[in-house]
């Protein structure tokens, strides 16, 4: 009898532990591979590591050096241009398409996948397609010439000052359909009764959207912003495939900067410092969002 009692006791205790046991591998992985690694990289950014990690602390020299490099400034400026245009244009296109698609459109089932499919393609494939499409010699410019528009010029991809905008074009093409899907989900979640009531009160379509619908899409705007912002900071493959960081260094971004400084130029300390700056940028965007999200849900 006593034996039986302790047996059930053990089983209830075990039941209490199982959930934590199930979760623990993920937590362990996360602590090592994410937060442990972050600390390690932060540490390296204060060392004189060159080709291999070294553990001699040299203070903030790497950061001083980093912000003194014109390449880094180019990368940061490019990121600012790229991220703001990418976020704004994707949001505008995504919202517009979602609102238009929400007007009882015949063929919505056909159009939606057409808008969405670029999201299935990798940035390498996207870059390959656009690199060629934008090439003045064989792409769009050439086609326009062949069609008789002789004065048409579109050589941005070869132009140091304009090349960064070609990256915006390709990135918008790849992601805006996904943003559309997010807004469409938001629109479909709005209660139609509210809209009907507003219409009975005589609100015009324009006012209906401006005053009622768009404010109600706040969560979708927020999700879109967070997703686009973190994608922008992480952008690496698209630049590699589309311009390779060129012409010259004109389209270098922090992600490509970090890679080349760490792995090809053997300036690991400086590379680590640039990675830390990237992380801090993302943290500044994500922290308030995550905090609000989790506080609300728990």
């Amino acid at each position: 009898m006593a034996n039986y009692a302790s047996d059930t006791d053990f089983r209830t205790k075990l039941q209490g532990w199982i959930p934590k046991l199930v979760l623990s591998p993920s937590i362990a992985m996360m602590l090592v591979f994410v937060y442990g690694f972050i600390l390690y990289t932060v540490y390296l950014s204060f060392t004189g590591s060159k080709m291999l990690p070294k553990y001699d602390l040299i203070g903030i020299d790497n950061y001083v050096r980093l912000w003194g490099l014109s390449t880094w400034w180019t990368a940061v400026t490019n990121l600012a241009i790229f991220a703001s245009l990418y976020i704004i244009i994707c949001t505008v296109i995504g919202l517009t398409l979602a609102i238009l698609l929400d007007q009882k459109i015949r063929g919505e089932g056909m159009l939606r996948p057409i808008y969405l499919y670029p999201m299935a393609l990798s940035f390498i494939v996207t870059g390959t397609a656009w690199k060629w499409f934008l090439d003045p010699g064989i792409g769009l410019e050439n086609t326009m010439h062949l069609w008789g528009w002789e004065s048409f010029e579109f050589g941005w991809i070869k132009d140091r000052n304009m090349a960064i905008y070609t990256i915006v074009i390709a990135a918008v093409w790849q992601t805006s359909g996904f943003v559309m899907a997010m807004f469409l989900a938001g629109l479909r979640g709005i209660d139609n009764e509210i809209l009907k009531a507003a219409q009975i009160d005589g609100a015009s379509n324009w006012n209906l959207y401006r005053r009622i619908v768009i404010p109600m899409l706040r969560p979708a705007f927020l999700s879109a912003f967070v997703i686009l912002a973190h994608l922008a900071v992480k952008s690496y493959d698209l630049v590699i495939a589309l311009t390779g960081g060129g012409p010259g260094r004109a389209t270098e971004l922090p992600a490509t900067f970090m890679y080349s400084y760490t792995f090809t130029r053997n300036q690991m300390g400086t590379g680590a410092a640039s990675a830390v700056i990237m992380l801090m940028t993302i943290a500044a965007i994500m922290m308030p969002y995550l905090y609000a999200e989790l506080k609300e849900k728990s």
């Binding site: 937590i27 690694f37 390690y40 990289t41 086609t143």
Partner: protein, 292 residues
């Protein structure tokens, strides 16, 4: 949510509607054009590309570029075509998706139905890990993979993708399971069902929609990844890295038609997934993972 049949309350005139259709069709053109150009030009002989119009249909149709991209094109130093790399990607993507989705489902279940002190904090830490720029982990990851003997191998890449994918899968399942009535789980507990029995019998049978989302998400992310593949792939590079090597190779004549065929080959699996299950992806997103 019967989203597909819900009528919009907004009505509009005939001219407005024509305008709407016009904008929608122009946008469709914008999204289709680059892919159309790739497809058409992958079926042309090279001379027709360099001397012709990219919008024109092939005068001589040929599948030669496709065969070449698949089996004989020069990738890096060897003329193997993309075939072995395609296989690498498959071998990497299948275990990575299965493992990360399975772990995500269990995590989501624990975090919503077996809550304990501090679980929100743990989830927050896990969630933040989805968004970190991977540059911050590249250096130590390279060192560790070398130390445990997984550098340049498929299992190494699987490990990397599982580690950095679990945050997202957990997020999806957690949000989805949060909407599932906890009373049912409690009732099952009172009836004597244990942790795993409840998971198998009650949670998994209702997890279809979110599993579709999680699998599509992970599949696309892992298949399309370039950074990890390029950094840790070594000799077992995935498709994206091989494609980039093919396209960027500076030796010899640039065979654009082969590049396009290769690019479409690299895009094919994820495209197929979208064509077959894209609908469920959007529906699943609406059902839980995007608040809205």
């Amino acid at each position: 949510m019967s989203t597909a049949t819900q009528d919009s309350a907004v009505s509009s005139g005939k001219i407005t509607r024509t305008f709407i259709y016009l904008v929608l069709l122009m946008s469709a053109l914008f999204y289709l054009l680059p892919f159309f150009v790739m497809l058409v030009n992958s079926l042309k002989p090279l001379a027709e590309i360099t001397g012709g119009n990219m919008m024109a249909l092939p005068q001589t149709w040929t599948i030669e570029p496709w065969l070449k991209a698949w089996s004989t094109a020069q990738i890096g130093v060897e003329a193997t075509g993309l075939k072995p790399y395609f296989l690498n990607s498959i071998l990497m993507v299948v275990p990575a998706v299965v493992i990360s989705t399975g772990i995500g489902a269990l995590n989501g279940y624990v975090l919503t139905k077996w809550r304990f002190r501090g679980d929100t904090l743990l989830f927050g830490l896990l969630l933040f890990s989805c968004f970190i720029p991977f540059q911050i982990v590249l250096i130590p990851m390279a060192t560790i993979l070398g130390k445990i003997g997984l550098a340049g191998s498929i299992p190494g890449l699987v490990l990397v993708h599982v580690v950095y994918g679990v945050g997202f899968t957990t997020l999806y399942y957690r949000n989805y399971y949060a909407a599932f009535p906890t009373e049912l789980v409690h009732a099952a507990m009172i009836d004597g069902a244990g942790f795993f029995r409840i998971f198998w019998r009650i949670m998994l049978p209702v997890s279809g929609p979110i599993t579709v989302v999680s699998v599509i998400w992970q599949f696309t992310n892992v298949w399309n990844d370039f950074l990890f593949g390029a950094s840790f792939g070594g000799q077992t590079q995935p498709m994206t890295v091989a494609l980039n090597n093919l396209v960027q190779s500076s030796t010899g004549v640039k065979e654009y038609n082969v590049h396009f065929a290769g690019a479409i080959l690299a895009a094919l699996p994820t495209l197929l997934v979208y064509i077959v299950a894209g609908r469920y992806f959007v529906r699943g997103l609406m059902a839980g993972s995007v608040k809205g």
